[in-house]
Symmetry: C2
Subunit: 186 residues, 2 copies
């Protein structure tokens, strides 16, 4: 049987169960507020959001692969495009632009066209070090690790801190080679 | 200008921004897990989820009124139907059944036809007192309070605890009368 053709981001997004974005935004906001209360240190909250995102990404990759029909990407460039055009669309209903590749082709930026996590959010002065959307970087890191790419994902621009866009930097640290089931006697 | 006709739940749900339900489910799960770690006592987690939900409901009622074109309900029965058919649809993409009215018409049950919050969830033995979906009861309580109805909302059946459905009991405690801007000299 021929493999199924990969779906566009819009087609995948239309095919998955969805909930109201404002409910998600407010629930996420309540969670960040709770973490700030409980952990007190902004750095700890950043770490915790990243870890939560990682755990979520490790799970979401299965739905992504099952629903998108995306097969193994030939290189990191294709991976970047799939994240930007299919991944973000499928989960948040937005797309991102891939920009600023380095010369080696091992790191790129994702500039988000919209960001449903931050509707209604303003950071008080006490939270200037907070990466409010750190769950997203964690999700990416977790999901990519499940498909053999160890990455570092960091925020380089953040509109909540006065920048003109949301920009995530994704750096490939290590690509774990596939292990094939070679026969012992060969 | 004639008032706009109220929209069906499906029409409203189609008109709002949405995100992937699995992302929401996993994020909510991460939040509950975090609360269990930080607060330790299941009763405290129940309270905190209810309070978070209340704060969210207080905000969501605005989107609900703006997007649904629902106007003032003539009585508590109509309120119940609007919650079940429009409210749940608009936010979670599901509907609920209204059942088990008491003789006075001041309390009813909402039986959920589906519950996206609990996908993949199993409660360990240490969490038998946990009302995992308590954010929902809080949302209802908060939203209703904003339209002058003080209510008590409790879980009476919960499939995570082995029941055959999710059932919320909504009891009207007090209907705060509207205050009209009477002229001082009348």
């Amino acid at each position: 049987m021929a493999p199924l053709a990969p779906k566009t981001g819009d087609a995948v997004f239309a095919s998955v169960d969805r909930v109201n974005a404002e409910l998600f935004t407010l629930t996420y906001g309540a969670m960040v507020r709770q973490l700030l209360t409980d952990l007190e240190e902004v750095d700890e909250v950043n770490k915790q959001l990243d870890q939560m995102g990682y755990n979520i990404g490790v799970r979401l990759i299965d739905e992504f692969l099952a629903k998108s029909n995306v097969s193994r990407c030939v290189d990191f460039k294709e991976t970047a495009d799939v994240i930007a055009k299919v991944g973000f669309k499928m989960f948040l209903g937005i797309t991102a632009s891939v920009t600023s590749w380095d010369a080696e082709g091992t790191s790129f930026s994702l500039v988000l066209e919209d960001n449903p996590l931050v509707d209604f959010v303003e950071l008080p002065d006490t939270c200037q070090g907070l990466h409010y959307c750190n769950i997203l970087s964690g999700v990416l890191r977790g999901a990519l690790e499940m498909v053999s790419m160890k990455t570092e994902v960091t925020w380089v621009r953040d509109m909540l801190h006065g920048d003109d866009a949301y920009e995530l930097r994704v750096k490939l640290l290590k690509q774990v080679p596939e292990e094939y089931p070679y026969k012992d006697d060969e």
